[in-house]
């Protein structure tokens, strides 16, 4: 089993994701330069955080036209796992692999802080190791994380259990105060219809070791590994 961490020219959380996968968890992992077209070596891909092309124009808008993205579409079609973290999420939205779009944070500022998240669906390949309804602590760091989609799209996401992570308060309620960026319905992470693509604004790779103040994020990666190992059904 091999993970690929895609490196766009302005990615800056690529080495963080790589470190967690390779050094902390110990799974096979390689960097994938954005001009690469052959992804056949990999079972899972990470689109890491950062500022892929300076985030000029719109976050993720320019990265979507990187050569690697053609292959990412195919990769997704084949049912392999793709996780887009922060800027990676924004790229997935721009690429149409996930529905909706990102607006600037309603606080009009970059926000770097810890947030509480509720794991709303534990039947995905990314969350199968969490307890249903578990509240976890994970950092965010973004300027455009205000998730937007048309109401009917949101309803469909909710209905199909595709809202996987939500900003909540310490007791698990999706309150206004717990929402750091104005995201529709406190949405922090969603999957595609098939369930093999997860986009999330929070950074699980920043909380996978206790020395960094918590390790709630580690199980996202461990869940992916487990699903790949057991070949568990990728849809739910």
């Amino acid at each position: 089993m091999k993970f690929g961490v895609v490196v766009f020219p302005g990615s800056n959380c690529d080495s963080d994701a790589y470190h967690v996968l390779k050094d902390v968890i110990g799974v096979d992992c390689e960097y994938v330069w954005h001009e690469t077209r052959d992804l056949s070596d990999f079972q899972a891909l990470v689109l890491p955080g950062g500022f892929s092309y300076g985030d000029y124009l719109r976050c993720g808008a320019l990265a979507r036209f990187s050569p690697v993205m053609d292959s990412v579409y195919r990769f997704v079609d084949e049912g392999k796992l793709v996780i887009g973290i922060c800027n990676g999420f924004q790229i997935l939205l721009e690429a149409g692999l996930l529905p909706g779009a990102m607006l600037p944070n309603n606080v009009l500022e970059f926000r770097c802080q810890w947030v509480d998240l509720k794991v709303e669906n534990t039947k995905t390949p990314f969350t199968c190791l969490y307890e249903p309804g578990e509240v976890i602590r994970v950092p965010i760091a973004h300027h455009e994380g205000n998730y937007y989609a048309e109401p009917d799209v949101l309803d469909e996401l909710e209905r199909a259990g595709r809202v996987v992570l939500r900003y909540v308060d310490a007791s698990g309620n999706p309150t206004l105060e717990a929402n750091p960026n104005g995201a529709a319905r406190n949405i922090a992470g969603i999957t595609n219809e098939k369930g093999n693509v997860l986009g999330l604004m929070p950074h699980p790779e920043r909380c996978s070791e206790s020395i960094l103040g918590g390790r709630d994020g580690r199980r996202i990666f461990l869940s992916m590994i487990k699903s790949l190992e057991t070949g568990a059904s990728l849809s739910f």
Binding site: S15, F51, Y56, R111, H203, I211
Partner: protein
């Protein structure tokens, strides 16, 4: 072009008549216009340190760990395991005063390239900021722009901004300070230097194209701010952080493949300074053709290309057989990597434009020939007044007022939490930030080792204003104690001397005294100066800023798991002061308390007790190794009571309060002791610690060995901060929530009101 000696264009360029005469004499001829421009930028105060060089030479710069001292792009310090840390602080004050967002952003860009030039990967940033009063609309504009500029640029680079300072005071109203520190890590063998070595080697420009932006930026930085500054705005440079990120990755790759003989960032004075300095360091010459420099605007002449301060560019000296490799890496990252000339043995910087010789100047004259000035120095008038601080000049508040005072101090923007600032910075990227902003000095792990690097910036301009020598010594001492409370050993400093016009004898006296105080403290604490930056002419409308020599300090934790943190850990732990708390009116000199509560900026701060400070550092180091301390916190703005409050704020679980009695500090009987000075006095060489009661013997043993007074002053409790008098009377009790509220809302509230 008209005869140069008739039109005297050097005056506009910022050169004195005498300097022009010197150039003419040393050159043996009249310089042409391009040459004159090159002299003007390199002989500006910003580049040539004309007024400060003599003083800087007096600073201690050597130490066993110093691999590279001042003179290169950044200092480099050994951190063991065959690793080294490059670090340096730099100012971008004037550009930020005029265009705060871009000024601050390009300030980050510049210091990052300095660290990159040493061969290190930049891994941390700290920002040290000074503004006018927060209720001034101009301050809000500057503050907002500067903070978002740092965020906009630094976040994009993926270099965490892990710490810094923000301080508000009137003298900075027209002239804010924006100082940025960058630290980087490298293996010893990756160390690079900014020298144009090897005759025949190729000179290359890597990174952004060159435009007309920022021409004469460093001359601008060497002038006072006035109404004209607005019109000098064409000097504004726009940062492109994405390009800088590419530049970092590309240059590291170019260096890793062994192609790079010498490397230098292009900061102030662009191509002129990078060419002159690299050649001067190597004792060589250069011939370059500016026609080969990638340009973004049409019709640029040699003068413009040589003086442009377009951002995100590096100068590389490359072995001729490696040029293709460098070009290949440049192309991979989508960057220009252009061959523009060669290293020669002529000792001259020869500038061609499409083959025509436009300038030819000995590099030694250009880079090192600027005159040095020792202006007159005179003790400032105002000191006679400010030194007068008598017991009776400050009313001692009743105990019933102390709670309000404490909350007022906690909410004071200089003490309150800076979270509204640092939450805009990505301080976690790279997953090495173990103690981020808001928790004292920053602690960053070094992956692959057990080590941690500790960074802090410190300087209280108010103290320097009242006594430049002891104030500067305090800045060093505070930085060292800040580092040491994590359990780390202070290794070395970098500094940025922000002062007014050196041509004013009172300002020059401040500068001289401050350098003396800094030097003595660095000597005593064995933290050599490895580099820094001088920013003079920080004045507006005839008002100079508080003299502000900002200290950036690097410390090393041998075992990051054994670090000490600022918050209380468990109820019942003993709370103690290591060192000495004066408790008299003099210790209120320049304190936040005196300004906020009594509206006074006065007093004559004592010098720090450096011998004692050394002892305290030893105690903390030893205590950390032995794991005896539960928490440690230095005393700075707000004094002992604010330090206690901070330990409560950072306290864990059921340890968010404490009860203390100043008895052990000797409050009874001693002459001149006052409650407010005991609680809020600042010039104390002391830190606050807590430890389990059963460690008391061990702690006092360590303290005795280091000759450090230990005074147990109280106990950690669950949820309130209380003070008892010597007689055991409870005179103050503040619930933890009230403390946390005041502290967390203070800054935002003061910017809003």
């Amino acid at each position: 072009m008209a005869d140069i000696s008739q039109t005297a264009p050097w005056r506009e360029m910022g050169l004195r008549d005498s300097e022009y005469e010197l150039i003419k004499a040393r050159l043996g001829r009249e310089p042409n216009y391009t040459e004159l421009g090159m002299f003007a930028v390199l002989w500006s105060e910003h580049c040539a340190y004309k007024h400060s060089k003599r003083l800087l030479r007096t600073l201690p710069t050597k130490g066993p760990g110093v691999l590279v001292g001042p003179g290169e792009n950044a200092g480099v310090v050994d951190i063991g395991d065959n690793l080294a840390c490059a670090f340096k602080i730099e100012s971008h004050n004037h550009p930020s005063a005029v265009e705060p967002y871009q000024g601050a952003a390009t300030g980050i860009g510049g210091i990052v390239r300095d660290i990159l030039a040493m061969g290190a990967r930049p891994v941390v940033l700290l920002d040290s900021l000074r503004f006018g009063p927060p209720d001034d609309p101009k301050t809000r504009f500057l503050f907002g722009g500067v903070v978002s500029g740092i965020a906009g640029y630094g976040n994009c680079l993926g270099i965490p901004t892990v710490g810094g300072e923000v301080f508000f005071a009137k003298p900075y109203a027209g002239n804010p300070l924006v100082n940025v520190l960058c630290g980087g890590i490298m293996k010893h063998e990756d160390l690079h230097r900014g020298g144009a070595y090897g005759v025949g080697n190729v000179v290359m420009v890597v990174g952004h194209s060159t435009g007309r932006d920022g021409i004469h930026g460093c001359t601008f930085a060497s002038d006072v701010l006035d109404e004209d500054s607005e019109s000098k705005r064409s000097n504004v440079q726009v940062g492109d952080p994405f390009m800088e990120k590419l530049l970092i990755e590309a240059c590291l790759e170019m260096m890793a493949c062994g192609a790079v003989v010498g490397i230098q960032d292009m900061g102030a004075a662009g191509l002129t300074s990078s060419c002159a300095e690299t050649a001067a360091r190597a004792g060589t010459g250069l011939v370059i053709d500016v026609g080969k420099v990638p340009m973004r605007e049409e019709g640029m002449n040699a003068y413009e290309v040589m003086l442009s301060e377009s951002q995100e560019r590096m100068l590389l000296i490359v072995g001729s057989d490696k040029v293709d490799e460098v070009k290949r890496i440049g192309a991979k990252w989508g960057l220009h990597a252009a061959e523009i000339g060669r290293v020669t043995d002529s000792g001259n910087l020869e500038v061609l434009h499409n083959g025509n010789l436009e300038a030819s100047i000995p590099v030694s004259l250009l880079a090192m020939g600027a005159p040095e000035y020792t202006p007159g120095a005179r003790e400032p008038e105002y000191l006679r007044k400010t030194r007068e601080l008598k017991d009776e000049s400050v009313r001692t508040p009743e105990f019933s007022e102390m709670k309000e005072i404490l909350l007022e101090l906690l909410a004071s923007p200089n003490i309150a939490s800076k979270e509204p600032v640092f939450r805009q910075y990505d301080y976690m990227v790279r997953t090495d930030t173990v103690e981020g902003p808001g928790r004292g000095a920053a602690v960053v792990r070094v992956k692959g080792t057990k080590k941690g690097l500790v960074f802090t910036t410190d300087c209280n301009g108010r103290l320097i204003y009242l006594s430049p020598k002891s104030g500067a010594a305090w800045a060093v001492t505070e930085a060292a104690l800040n580092v040491a409370v994590t359990g780390a050993k202070p290794l070395a400093i970098t500094n940025c001397l922000n002062f007014g016009s050196p041509e004013n004898p009172e300002v020059f006296w401040q500068l001289k005294e401050a350098v003396r105080g800094m030097g003595e403290a660095c000597q005593a604490l064995e933290t050599p100066v490895t580099g820094g930056n001088v920013s003079l002419y920080n004045e507006s409308d005839g008002v100079a800023i508080y003299p502000t020599p900002i200290i950036g300090m690097l410390g090393l934790l041998e075992d990051i798991e054994k670090r000490i943190t600022p918050g209380f850990k468990s109820a019942g732990d003993l709370v103690a002061v290591l060192g000495k708390v004066w408790g008299d009116v003099r210790s209120l000199s320049g304190s936040e308390y005196l300004e906020v509560v009594h509206g006074m900026v006065a007093g004559d701060p004592r010098e720090p007790d450096l011998e004692l400070a050394r002892g305290i550092i030893e105690v903390l180091n030893e205590g950390a190794r032995e794991g005896v301390f539960s928490s440690a916190q230095d005393l700075s703005e707000g004094g002992l009571l604010v330090a206690l409050a901070e330990s409560c704020i950072h306290g864990e679980g059921g340890a968010r309060g404490c009860v203390m009695s100043p008895k052990a500090l000797g409050c009874g009987g001693r002459e001149g002791i006052r409650a407010d000075a005991m609680l809020f006095g600042e010039s104390n060489t002391a830190v606050l610690v807590s430890f389990p009661a059963n460690c008391e013997e061990q702690v006092s043993h360590i303290c005795r060995r280091q000759n450090v007074p230990l005074s147990v002053i109280g106990r950690v409790q669950s949820s309130a901060l209380a003070v008892e008098t010597c007689g055991g009377l409870r005179v103050l009790e503040v619930p933890a929530e009230e403390i946390a509220q005041a502290y967390s809302r203070g800054l935002e509230d003061s910017l809003k009101s």
